[in-house]
């Protein structure tokens, strides 16, 4: 499992990326000294037991001066109350009620982790998010090895997901994170993270502003925080992992929550990302397994897009320039078999929505609602392309490269939003 550190020299006058080459020889077993705090989120009893078992297997003996602390909010579990896992030191802590969606790490998770790390003088932290029982001992060891005794401040895992999973990440989060912050991680909103103590402190400081106002469930963006602070970001491949899925919350609300949070973060960090100019080298493409059951039917998504094209034109016209509207018109006329949203068109759409979010061109709730059918059109296009034989990961890399190449458009419109834009 390879780890890839990189960072962005943002504090210099001419920001430029400093890219450290891949390190495929990263040790799997941690041999570094220190105290590693592993922070778990709220888990069901069986999942907690499975996670603790995997942790015990990942760190069979605390040799070489390595101490492993496991902080868990589930203090009532017998495994925590007893001493079933003698090689792990379990630290129960009181956590707020689990988040409604319980899909991502929240501000409260970062704050609790830092408090525990500070209290027990940990040198590094690992936060394992929901469904952490699906992480193998090897994956946990790989993450520990990549953060312990290294210069890495933020360790982001790269999951081996199927081509039909994590689509919001592929369509919006990853390309934006890469283009704007010069950050390489494929999953900027990963639910497992490795943090150095100073990174944990930085995130806790940001988290505190949210928790103090009763917004403990807010999403934080560790990659952009690390990029701003010029901290070292590394990525480690950890194989497959089960990601938590929302039970009944609809896509519109979740997309609005995640994309809205990302757009707000972009707004607050505008002075930084406007100075960053990076083109990331091509990354190694993972061999993705195709869906065994075949690709999903895209016709409902196309119907949704066409319905939106008929009804939402006047709202889109407030946000998108005429050229993009023309592109959407052509898209709405395409037959399903050859339906293809170009990377350039999707890039412009996302950039214009970021700008409209900043300028409050329309109500932000409406703005996010108007993005949903466009996102579904991108998903349909992506699936059709993959079904035709294009590797999905290759398409996503090309999309991210387009976001990078077209960043000047966003910067220009951000600085001069009133300038004529055909």
């Amino acid at each position: 499992m390879a780890s890839t550190p990189s960072n962005v020299a943002a504090n210099s006058e001419t920001p430029a990326p400093i890219l450290v080459p891949d390190r495929p020889d990263a040790a799997i077993a941690p041999s570094a000294q220190g105290t590693l705090l592993i922070s778990l989120t709220t888990l069901p009893p069986e999942a907690l037991e499975a996670t603790l078992t995997n942790l015990a297997l990942a760190f069979p003996a605390q040799s070489d001066g390595l101490t492993v602390l496991v902080a868990t909010p589930d203090s009532s579990h017998p495994a925590v109350a007893g001493e079933s896992f003698s090689n792990l030191r379990l630290l129960p802590y009181s956590a707020p009620a689990p988040a409604l969606s319980n899909l991502f790490l929240t501000a409260a998770d970062y704050l609790n982790t830092f408090k525990m790390a500070q209290e027990h003088q940990a040198t590094d932290c690992l936060i394992l998010g929901p469904e952490s029982q699906s992480l193998t001992p090897e994956s946990i060891r790989a993450m520990a090895a990549a953060i312990l005794g290294t210069e890495t401040d933020l360790l982001v895992p790269r999951y081996d997901l199927g081509p039909h999973e994590g689509l919001v990440n592929s369509a919006i989060l990853y390309p934006i994170s890469r283009a704007l912050y010069g950050a390489r991680p494929r999953f900027p909103l990963a639910i497992d993270l490795g943090l150095s103590l100073r990174m944990a402190e930085r995130l806790a400081t940001v988290a505190q502003s949210y928790t103090a106002s009763g917004q403990s469930e807010s999403i934080l963006w560790p990659v952009s925080e690390a990029a701003i602070a010029n901290y070292v970001i590394a990525e480690v491949e950890i194989g497959s992992r089960q990601l938590p899925q929302p039970a009944s919350i609809d896509l519109n609300a979740l997309l609005a929550q995640i994309a809205g949070s990302l757009f707000l973060d972009i707004n607050t960090k505008a002075t930084f990302w406007q100075r960053v100019r990076t083109i990331q080298p091509k990354r190694k493409l993972l061999q993705q397994r195709g869906p065994a059951e075949g690709w999903p039917d895209v016709s409902p998504m196309l119907t949704s897009f066409r319905l939106a094209y008929i009804n939402l034109q006047e709202i889109w016209a407030l946000v998108l320039p005429p050229n993009t509207l023309l592109g959407l018109k052509h898209l709405s006329l395409m037959p399903p078999a050859s339906f293809r949203m170009s990377d350039a068109l999707w890039t412009r759409i996302v950039y214009d929505f970021i700008l409209a979010h900043r300028l409050r061109t329309i109500n932000r709730g409406h703005l996010m609602g108007a993005l949903t059918p466009l996102y579904l059109a991108w998903v349909a296009s992506h699936i059709i392309l993959a079904d035709a034989g294009t590797p999905p990961e290759l398409h996503i890399e090309e999309l991210a490269a387009t976001f990078e190449n077209d960043k000047a458009y966003l910067v220009s419109r951000w600085r001069w939003p009133d300038r004529f834009n055909p």
Binding site: S248, L264, D297, P300, T361, V379
Partner: protein, 257 residues
């Protein structure tokens, strides 16, 4: 006879001129009060803008999530930054104060019980409230119309635009009725007309959905339940602990998060 006509005309002209002479100072006081307070409001707004820009009010508000609830208010007036919103609030507050002071001065210019003040004053005071109701009603109509349109499109309802227009006109009709009622125009005719119109629209919509569009609605609901997983709705995961989850269908395999 001519003398009587002359006398009647001269007395009438005298009365009108006297009323105009007593009317103008009040009107001038009203205008001066509005103008003066508007100018003061303009100055205060400019000063406030300078101060807020100097203390980076927008950025602080964006950073301070405690003010998220407050910042939601500004979304009712799109494209306004919090600074602009505050300065405009100050400006219009002063202008509104000017109107109130002007009306009060206008009222004081009469001894009371005169015909003009009896007829004009209620309209002056009520017209301010009516304008506010009209503006607010338009804002709410536009907001709700867009909300319904976007929500209905994302729910894949074919009649999204019809719903959106229906909501918009319901709110506008309600607003118009409130404005007329506030201005005391039409009396019970407006109440009656509004009751008939509003009730008629609601009854029509109910009948249309209940009878005419019954099949359409049931088809729409069935279609949505069939398409769970690839659209705005998301698949429910299998219940925890179930040993044999149902075999996934192609649609189930799509995961947005």
């Amino acid at each position: 006879m001519w003398q009587q006509v002359n006398s009647a005309l001269s007395q009438s002209a005298h009365r009108v001129l006297f009323k105009l002479a007593s009317f103008f100072p009040g009107l001038v006081a009203l205008l001066v009060a509005i103008l003066l307070l508007t100018l003061i409001g303009f100055g205060l707004a400019a000063l406030m803008r300078r101060i807020l820009v100097a203390v980076k009010f927008d950025e602080r508000l964006a950073r301070n999530q405690a003010a998220a609830a407050i910042s939601n208010i500004q979304e009712w007036s799109p494209s306004h930054s919090p600074t602009v919103l505050v300065t405009r609030f100050v400006f219009w507050g002063c202008a509104f104060l000017g109107v109130i002071i002007g009306i009060s001065a206008f009222d004081a210019a009469y001894s009371g019980g005169t015909d003009i003040s009896v007829f004009l004053l209620p309209y002056l005071t009520h017209s301010v409230g009516a304008i506010l109701i009209l503006l607010l009603g338009n804002l709410i109509a536009r907001f709700l119309s867009r909300s319904v349109l976007i929500g209905a499109v994302n729910a894949r309802l074919q009649y999204a635009r019809f719903l959106s227009h229906g909501i918009k006109w319901l709110v506008l009709v309600l607003t118009a009725a409130m404005v007329l009622d506030h201005l005391q125009i039409g009396g019970t005719v407006v109440d009656l007309a509004f009751g008939i119109l509003f009730g008629g629209i609601v009854l029509t919509l109910s009948l249309a959905i209940g009878l005419g569009s019954r099949d359409l609605v049931s088809r729409s609901i069935e279609k949505n339940s069939d398409l769970v997983g690839d659209g705005p709705s998301i698949v429910e995961p299998p219940p925890p602990g179930s040993d044999s989850p149902r075999p996934p269908t192609p649609i189930d395999t799509l995961r947005h998060f």
